[in-house]
Amino acid sequence: MTPEASPAVQPAAAAPVFRRVYVWELPVRIYHWLNALCVLVLTVTGILIAHPPAFASVTEASFSYWFGINRFIHFATAYVFFFNFAFRIYWGFVGNQFSDWRNFLPLRSAQFRQAGAVLRVDVLQATNRPIDAVGHNSLAYFTYFLMFLVFLFQVISGFAMYASMSKSWFPQLFVWAVPLFGGDFALRQWHYMAMWFFIVFTIVHVYLVFYHDYVEGHGVMSSMVGGWKFVRPDMLKGNGRSWFPLSPRSPRSEQKSAPRRPS
């Protein structure tokens, strides 16, 4: 290994104190798991819609409605997915600094620097300097931004196709997407193609959560359950390479990031 292998480890013997930080607020965690459930249900029902299995049935069609129910679940889940997604965007404006919407937009050079560092350290593993990211790292935020765009596309294309089967006003808001893509067929094709993004995303996402927990030991995995991460105090101070430099702003998030005290 390189001699500068783990600078973070050196002072650890002296002060291995990890601070517990409340990173993911309860609404963010609920959003995450509800979203994961929706994506799972939508993917499974979506694959079934695209490739219905062959049931050798001797019953009359009037006794069976499984495909209709499957589609109903897909459409109903789509509504949950959409409103959950809309809520997450709202939370980007009122939540703590780790869920702030500004993290997701790749606008500042510091974000690009950190994304580049993540590529070198975690993906290419060219160096072992730790990335001091308390929330997500910049590359992850960018990826989630891309993911939100795919969410948006799935919502628009899905409801645009659904509009012709619905009398409700909401899906009608998306009918403009049909002429944009030339027709339902093309829209369906792209809607289906985008589903593969979710599958590939999930593979990479789950792997990276394992990876970060395994390598860094900040408790990434459990943070989406309890909200807490364990970080070195210096990571919170913004020492040049820290998590995207949004200074902790609201007193509320200050309070939240301080450990709860049983009083």
């Binding site: 049909v178 027709g183 593969w196």
Partner: protein, 387 residues
């Protein structure tokens, strides 16, 4: 020709008068009006509107242009089940110019066209079959020494409205399929500033064509159109929604291959690539050849001929089209599976690499083992740090 009868002139027989003179009984005339109102989805009171309109209105001058197409729209129309349907267009509206059916030729025909465009300016209906080629200055479709683009733009300038017949005029159809060597364009892309009614299909159903003409005659306004410019009366529902095999779809009973047991049961053709779920047309309701049948009823899936780009959405016998840029028959599934497998392989390789490259960072670190951990809990030491 019929130019003398254009409505800009006073007098002349009305549509009913002319029909009557040709031996159509009052009874047949009323039946026709009722029939058309039903197709148009009008309330029963609408029958009277149609009736009155055809009784009172004079013939409508029409210029019918043909460009890059196969004339199947005209063929469909003149094979319409009801004799009056053909009459209403070919005799009762004043078809002043149409390459396929007119008697005049050469200079005579050109003169007819120009006379109508001049004398009925702002009043004639322009009906177009076929797409307009843009490549090589339009050399792929030249009539009377002028390009299709020139002709359609000149004719459109004085038209009251434009009816685009068939997929060619509405979306380019086969000529516009990749690689589209003539750069064929539908009418709505080469004409601006005029209302365009896209009567889709390859060809459109004859009764749909007649319905659009009757609507224009009766109400003298553009029918309600969908987002792709198609009359809602005929294109607001998918073939799927009106398909008599729909219950099999919802029950999950599908034909797995042509001529299997399920096909003999008449199950849904969804898995055979039927485009019914993404195609807006009236085939399931009006059907073809005097309501005899339509593709799905004959055991073949819908190919989506009333949708833009349906030739490029092939192969027709699979639900998912081949994906552009990946060669023939490569579907989204094959690409997705390949990328998914690559992601898993990449993650596995990365995991191995991580254990090699980050060997010193993983697991127990100096000063972190349980025996060396400071007795106070993390939270408390953190409080101290804070204070």
């Amino acid at each position: 020709m019929n130019v003398l009868e254009s409505p800009s002139r006073t007098g002349g027989p009305t549509i009913w008068e002319e029909m009557h003179a040709r031996g159509v009984s009052r009874r047949d005339f009323v039946k026709f009006c009722t029939w058309m109102s039903a197709y148009l989805g009008l309330a029963s009171s609408g029958v009277a509107d149609v009736l009155k309109a055809l009784e009172k209105k004079r013939r409508l001058p029409v210029v019918w242009l043909h460009f890059q197409e196969c004339t199947c729209c005209s063929e469909s129309f003149i094979r319409s089940s009801h004799p009056i349907v053909a009459d209403i267009l070919l005799d009762k509206v004043s078809l002043d110019y149409t390459e396929t059916l007119q008697a005049a030729a050469g200079f005579q025909a050109e003169e007819c066209l120009h006379r109508t465009m001049k004398e009925s300016r702002g009043e004639y209906l322009l009906m177009v079959e076929g797409s307009v080629p843009m490549a090589e200055d339009g050399a792929y479709c030249v009539i009377g020494g002028r390009s299709a683009l020139d002709i359609v733009q000149e004719a459109a300038a004085g038209a009251k409205a434009i009816v685009a017949w068939g997929n060619c005029a509405c979306a380019g159809c086969v000529q516009a399929a990749r690689p589209n060597p003539t750069m064929a364009r539908p009418i709505h892309q080469v004409v601006t500033g005029k209302p365009i009614i896209n009567v889709q299909g390859c060809p459109p159903i004859a009764e749909v064509m007649a319905g659009v003409v009757v609507y224009l005659l009766t109400f003298d306004r553009i029918p309600q159109l969908d987002a792709l410019g198609r009359p809602k009366a005929f294109y607001s529902r998918r073939v799927h929604d009106t398909c008599y095999r729909r219950p099999y779809y919802d029950a999950g009973l599908y034909v797995e291959s042509f001529d299997d047991e399920n096909a003999r049961h008449g199950y849904c053709l969804y898995k055979m690539g039927c485009r019914g779920p993404t195609t807006y047309n009236s085939c399931g309701v009006i059907r073809w050849n005097n309501g005899v049948s339509y593709p799905i009823q004959s055991g073949h899936g819908c190919i989506g001929c009333s949708e833009a780009g349906f030739w490029d959405n092939g192969p027709f016998y699979q639900r998912l089209a081949s994906f552009p840029g990946f060669g023939i028959e490569t579907t989204a599934d094959q690409i997705g599976l390949a990328v998914g497998a690559a992601a898993i392989a990449g993650a596995a390789a990365h995991a191995i690499l991580t254990n090699v490259r980050k060997h010193h960072e993983i697991g127990e670190q100096a000063g972190e083992s349980a025996s060396l951990a400071p007795p106070p809990a993390v939270a408390e030491s953190d409080e101290q740090a804070k204070e």
